[in-house]
Amino acid sequence: MSRTDDAQAALVSVSETESRLAEHMEWPLWRHAIVGGIMGLLVFAQTLEGTLSLLGSFSAVLIAISVARADKRRDGISVQVFRKGRLAWIGIGLVTICGIAVVAVRLMEPPRIERPLFWLITIGIVVLGTALSYVRQKLYQAELRRGWG
């Protein structure tokens, strides 16, 4: 076999490995819904009074860390949230949207829970968080299938 045949075979083997990795990185829909749920919990926590609000927000962060650890154990792989490229923009988007929602709810006059806008924001953030998590996975898989370079 020639050097160029070897090179071609090596490139094909890398491409096939990346495709198999892409298949491995498939999350069920409920896992994406957890991302939306955590974001919704963080927004909802802003309606609570004083220390409870802080505890609610802290719980959302703790749940997010636990889910990331469970993912690593289950998948046997960890991928940075802010991995460079388009994935980083999804990560930044998730954090920014969540931050804006938290501030918007904080700026509302109590009782926030009785305002339709609050529920619109909370439901919106759950749906958007779920959708962005799904899009992030699809982008990552597409990046792997597109191959190196």
């Binding site: 045949d5 990795l21 046997g76």
Partner: protein
């Protein structure tokens, strides 16, 4: 100047292992083994060789009474992989160009 192939990445299985690690932050031994589809002993041998070259960092963690091995690519490993892939692409492209010229002639 063109890129040189990296001898330490010539073995097909080793190149596949590094290609996985180039795409993730960290990967567990069992996951790499399943994706590359090689035996434990072969993977262990390649990971050790890559670690000696300074291309891979290996960490061990105990969970539920069992030891789990995790591997990640070092900066040196990342640079070596990129160089090797560029060299492979250049070789494959040169072969394609030559075949095209032969067709025209």
């Amino acid at each position: 100047m063109s890129d040189e192939l990296v001898p330490a990445l010539h073995a097909p299985a080793r190149l596949q292992i590094v290609s996985i690690l180039a795409r993730v932050t960290e990967a567990e031994f069992a996951t790499i083994r399943d994706v590359v589809d090689i035996s434990d002993s072969v993977l262990s041998k390649h990971l050790s060789a890559l670690a000696v070259q300074g291309f891979v960092e290996i960490t061990k963690a105990t969970r539920d009474g069992r030891q789990h091995t995790w591997a990640s690519l070092t900066r040196t490993g990342g640079r070596a992989f990129a160089q090797h892939m560029r060299a492979l692409s250049a070789l494959a492209k040169a072969a394609g160009d030559a075949a095209e010229r032969a067709m025209i002639a």
